[in-house]
Assembly symmetry: C2
Homo-oligomer: 429 residues x 2
């Protein structure tokens, strides 16, 4: 079936609300490691997908899923060891106080559960989020997904703070952490004026849709202190930065001396198998359980947990956190070299294998160039490299490949980008 | 590891908000067909679980999952045939107007998406639900899950109507359909008084948590007419009755001459693999897409769709809808025989393999006997039959086995229940 036929079938069967990547969509039929293959046998270097965390179709994960699916798949109202084994392995990745795990199927559901706990535990309703955030697609989470939920549709209990972006944001100086954090205190005060006690500050620890922004050092600790002093919880959304992606740390928040009250996680946990979770302190689940109980039909089932256990195995056995650091540094160094020659690169921000490249029309003025970013992404796709665009101005190339990417593959990405920039942005400086 | 050790580990690792079935929880390690096996090798007849729809670990479904998981698992922003093949097979199970499918991971997410579409399409906010409903566990869906969300916590835009229960409810006569439906018109009027345009009536088509209640004939058509005339949508929640469980029809709503605007589905779709969906008319997705777009990271991925395709294969190749009708009728006839001898059985309601047995302290007064129901369920568990309790009064035995249950297994269930009733409710009449 041709792409034209597939597109027509898709529009008819899935309706009008679904979208596709790229001016010329790709019809992927197979994946292996960092490589995707289309129906014509063409291969693509996957620099985009963080969900297949340990590589597309990693045999250890596939085997774990198959083995468990053939034996038992049921729910958490019976005793089963997989969910306990996984909860033990997972909570061991946190400080001793964060000792309890609860399971669901998607990042949206993990954030839903975090807010449900935060509200019951604090008695508050107020939520503080960054001003171009994405945390999921259910109604309550859409309301704090300020990227897509217009201010006019947000309830009064949602107050935003500026993304602590030191390249393009309000503050770019040495005091940026304190100055950005002061907005969280303002948000607490605004909630109070509106009659709401704060329930939680919810924040990506590398702020993804805000532009793959790493908060300035000290920021996360400061804002956690502020919200906790006001009686609210600090909910760290680790759906994207978690599981070693940032290289230096297993969780994004560890870059700062901060301990969240709740950590939510999703996408990479099961390498594509739907599983998500939150980790919190036992005392919070005790308080929560006095008001409420929790059950999620598919959440924490033996197959999902087998997949998630296998993902942890591979992260450890293949030393993927270190690989994220090493290849991430190689990519950032290479991108900075490209920036020396291509004026259109305004900034390169790296956090292990979670990297942003800002395209600008004017480097001094930092004028975002969305049209160029769109061209680059589509040209890279035509040359066999899959990436995406992100950020409030749609001008940021987002690189977030499976964690198994090798040095040679990073070089291929860099040389292809060099070619594309020469083609779309003119000869090098 | 002993159950005592597992319980301690579980409390420590999963916290206080999780609950377990049975006074003596079961540690299940293996499943096959309608049978579950515990760590000591003891087998249990599974009369409870509807999620393993075509039987625990059905080899055709396991094979489909394994095959696809080894080849590719990615998302709907690339073209892939599985999601289209499944959408085609699924929408073929509906009338031609219900031609479009959208995918997510859980029943909660399917209902979230249904409400999101209903609100955008109607411009309304008002929701009408039955008075002891369960539709999911996200915040917006919890608000319409009147079983667990207290009236004091419900927003003003949620209005309830009585469960159309002709055994225990307000109306039990020949006019019950019309009299119950009149409450939906009242609810529309209440919403109007409160300043809300109706967005949707959301209803199980066999009302599960309300007591496995089959609405009286004509009720669903009447209430759909009322809400549609008021500009709202009729959302049929088929998470439990769907996929042939009721025997006579593939979808619960087909028992009445009614066509929903949106049909939501979940649990049995992937036989335990997390997949859920809604089916609606293309025109509704077009209107929705003018306001909004839709993406769900894991929703409609190639592995989930492979699982769901395999489930449809098995329903068809093993003739499971007919089996639900046949074994369902056998169970109901057997339960009615038991009722002739056991005064404690107040009512038996069957809808294929979705069956309720009401336990009563006084048959004439229909006094619910929750204590007895609890004893029966725990005694059945001790004798190797897994069931559950449901209903506003916690007095209803819910039977909802995998669709592959055979006649001899139904007989085993009936004879075990007979034994249990003799033991816990005294000698037969």
């Amino acid at each position: 079936m041709t792409n034209v036929e597939l597109l027509a079938r898709r529009k008819k069967l899935l309706g009008a609300a679904y979208s596709l990547f790229y001016a010329e969509p790709v019809h992927i039929v197979r994946g292996e490691g960092v490589w995707l293959y289309d129906a014509d046998g063409r291969k693509y270097l996957d620099m985009y997908n963080n969900v297949p965390h340990v590589g597309h179709c990693h045999p250890h994960v596939v085997k774990a899923i198959c083995k468990q699916a053939a034996v038992l798949n049921t729910h958490t109202r019976y005793l089963h060891e997989n969910v306990l084994d996984y909860a033990e392995r997972l909570t061991a990745k946190f400080s001793p106080a964060l000792d309890t795990a609860m399971f669901c199927c998607t990042g949206s559901e993990a954030n839903e559960l975090a807010l449900r706990i935060a509200r019951k535990v604090t008695g508050g309703e107020g939520l503080i989020v960054t001003d171009f955030a994405y945390h999921g697609n259910t109604r309550a989470i859409h309301e704090i997904s300020t990227e897509s939920c217009p201010a006019s549709e947000r309830p009064a209990w949602v107050v935003t703070v500026p993304t602590p972006d030191c390249y393009r944001g309000l503050y770019r100086d040495a005091d940026a952490a304190a100055r950005y954090a002061a907005h969280v205190q303002e948000a607490v005060d605004t909630l109070k004026e509106r009659g709401f006690k704060p329930a939680a500050l919810v924040m990506d620890t590398i702020i993804s849709s805000g532009g793959v922004v790493r908060p300035p050092p000290g920021y996360l600790r400061r804002v956690a202190d502020i919200v906790q002093a006001a009686g609210g919880l600090f909910v760290a959304d680790e759906v994207q930065p978690g599981f070693g992606r940032t290289g230096r740390n297993f969780w994004g928040y560890e870059a700062d001396a901060v301990e969240p009250d709740i950590v939510t996680m999703g996408k990479p946990m099961g390498n594509g198998h739907p599983i998500a979770a939150l980790v919190t302190r036992a005392e919070l689940t005790r308080t929560f359980s006095r008001h409420d109980h929790y059950f999620n039909t598919f959440g924490g089932n033996p197959v999902s947990c087998a997949a998630a256990l296998a993902v942890l195995d591979v992260i450890e056995s293949e030393n993927l956190q270190q690989n994220a650091l090493d290849v991430g540094e190689q990519l950032v160094a290479g991108l900075q070299s490209l920036a020396d020659r291509h004026e259109v690169i305004g900034d390169v921000r790296g956090n292990g294998l979670f990297i942003a490249v800002e395209f600008v029309a004017d480097r001094a003025a930092r004028t975002p160039d969305a049209a160029l970013a769109g061209k680059v992404v589509n040209e890279l796709r035509l040359r066999g490299v899959l990436t995406g665009v992100i950020g409030p101005d749609n001008n940021i190339l987002k690189l977030r490949p499976p964690m198994v990417i090798k040095s040679a593959e990073a070089e291929l990405m860099l040389s292809t980008l060099d070619d594309v920039l020469q083609a779309v942005a003119g000869p090098v400086a």
